[in-house]
Amino acid sequence: MKRSPLALFAGLYLIFLYAPIILLPLFAFNDGTIIAFPLRGFTLGWFADLANTPALHEATLNSLIIACSVAVLATCLGLFAARAVTRYKFPLKGGILGFIMLPLVLPEVIVAISLLVVLMQLGINASIFTIILGHTLLCMPFAIAILQGSFAGLDVSLEEAAVDLGETRAGAFRLVILPIVTPGIIASLLICFIISLDEFIIAFFLSGNEPTLPVYLWGQLRFPARLPVVMALGTILVTLSIVLLIVADIFRRRGLRRTGQSETGGFL
């Protein structure tokens, strides 16, 4: 790599990208109630405060229930779509896939209010269940994108060989295909978990009186005195996301290698 103006720009750009994430822990460990420089010294007090906030624990539990359910649901639905798209030809394939992928580009507010209006009209109260429905819709495109990667390099003859040797279709899928795409499935589960855990808009519109972590955070942003605690909570969330993301990426690459594809970086 040459030392060119372009490299310098790339460096500055990375700083721009990471600025919020670098500042976050600084304020979370800072012994001062005001979120501003100069820093005042090191404390773990804000993290300790997190431990004795019951409302927060409730929100965390809600978020975990939602994120786990969404990860499983979206990945299952994603499996169907990814296998159908890579294995079979059917009419309107592009259109159907495009429609399922639509939540990727649609403004979230539109998705959220249309879901809300329908649920209100049906008399279904906003709850954890409605958030799970909304998040699954949002995570499905990501699950499909990741799983498509694992299915794409799959050799059809492997499955055919299993069927020729006397396995049923379902048996062949379970014994031959599933083990090969397992890393992709794990990556998809983790990514859907992260998206659901961090998602705010749909949760905000559909949560009713069962807030998720981001909705709880949003409520706390109004109280200046609570901001250091918010920073501490944010630090935990961001660290969790990054750790899960790295694990997910390791699995995704392993999956690609299993089917003999080259590793091109990053999701999406």
């Binding site: 790599m1 750009y13 919020p20 304020f27 403004p107 539109i110 209006v117 961090d198 961001v238 970086g265």
Partner: protein, 340 residues
């Protein structure tokens, strides 16, 4: 095999979208909803200066965000594709996507901290003696929204541009240079046109969601940075006027679709202009000038049209200009290189 996800998407996406379209033709009658079919909501949304201003501002902010994001993203994508060793590309892309996977809410909130009156940006600039007093134009207004969203959507712009740059056959660049083209001209006449599909994809992926962003205007926008999504929220939750909220949502989607269709058709025109003078620097300048004039005309009619032609009339004039232009371009300008 496709059916479970398709049924899911139909039930939770198509049905709700159709429902809000239906809702937009109803009206709120205090506590009940009047289900007589009417276009009153649309008439109000399209003529009330407040809604028009919010819609235009949302489009302007989204346009600025898109421009800023794509212009900043291009050199990065170019750097990764052309200057980073192949085995390190994956790492770079991973580094760029990591921030995207962390909590959106927290990232946006931290921009409020960064841009604050006593925040690190002002602190550093004061320290360095670049400014004498803290900048006040970087928080609680449209600028702050643009900066913050340009950060939030960075990976969405970098990845498609990177993909299209990776697809460029490197021997084409060598050929251009062997034939005596300078490095800059090679870039303008070979690399840039070949990377345009990626740039267009980036524009679409950034523009559509940013028009409807809710969190950023609320956290860093102040009163001058409020956008259409905030108004939709106010209508539905604070004013309990769900039909009006639905109408604004439908209009927002329509406006985005029309704007993008107009934009894509006009790109054909701008590229055609550029090609007519042989491309290169002159072509680039000409295309940009044409783009600025085109956008200025539409914006002027939208803003000042009501004074001249009345609220409804101005929409007619706008439709005539945009539709007429589109038809002319579709009929007389040949399809460009990128199939648009």
């Amino acid at each position: 095999m496709i059916s479970p996800p398709l049924i899911y998407a139909l039930l939770l996406l198509a049905v709700p979208l159709l429902t809000i379209i239906l809702f937009s033709f109803w009206t709120q009658n205090f506590l009940t909803i009047d289900r007589t079919f009417t276009v009153a909501n649309y008439a109000e949304a399209l003529t009330d200066p407040l809604y028009r201003e919010l819609m235009l501002r949302s489009l302007r902010i989204a346009g600025l965000v898109t421009a800023a994001t794509v212009i900043l993203a291009f050199p990065i994508a170019y750097f990764i594709s052309f200057h980073v060793k192949p085995e390190k590309k994956a790492l770079w892309l991973f580094l760029i996507t990591i921030p995207f996977w962390t909590s959106y809410l927290i990232r946006i909130f931290l921009w409020r901290v960064i841009l604050a009156y006593d925040g690190p940006v002002n602190g550093t600039l004061l320290e360095l003696g670049i400014i004498d007093e803290p900048l006040s134009w970087i928080l609680y207004n449209a600028n702050a929204v643009v900066i913050t969203l340009a950060h939030a959507f960075a990976p969405f712009a970098i990845l498609p541009i990177f993909v299209s740059l990776e697809k460029i056959d490197r021997s084409l660049l060598e050929a251009a240079r062997d034939l005596g083209e300078a490095t800059t001209m090679t870039f303008i006449r070979v690399t840039l046109p070949l990377a345009m599909p990626g740039v267009l994809a980036a524009v679409l992926i950034v523009f559509i969601p940013t028009v409807g962003d809710y969190v950023t205007p609320r956290l860093v926008g102040g009163s001058g940075g409020t956008m259409i999504a905030n108004m939709i929220y106010v209508q539905i939750f604070d004013l309990s006027n769900r039909p009006m909220g639905a109408t604004l949502a439908v209009l927002a989607m329509l406006t985005v679709t029309i704007t993008l269709a107009w934009f894509i058709l006009h790109i054909r025109f701008w590229v055609h202009l550029s090609d007519r003078v042989g491309g290169g620097m002159l072509g680039l300048v000409l295309a940009v000038v044409a783009a600025v004039i085109d956008i200025a005309i539409v914006r002027w009619v939208f803003l000042h049209g009501p004074d001249w032609f009345g609220p409804a009339g101005s929409l007619g004039v706008l439709a005539a200009i945009m539709g007429g232009g589109a038809v002319l371009i579709a009929l007389f300008v040949p399809k460009g290189r990128w199939g648009i």
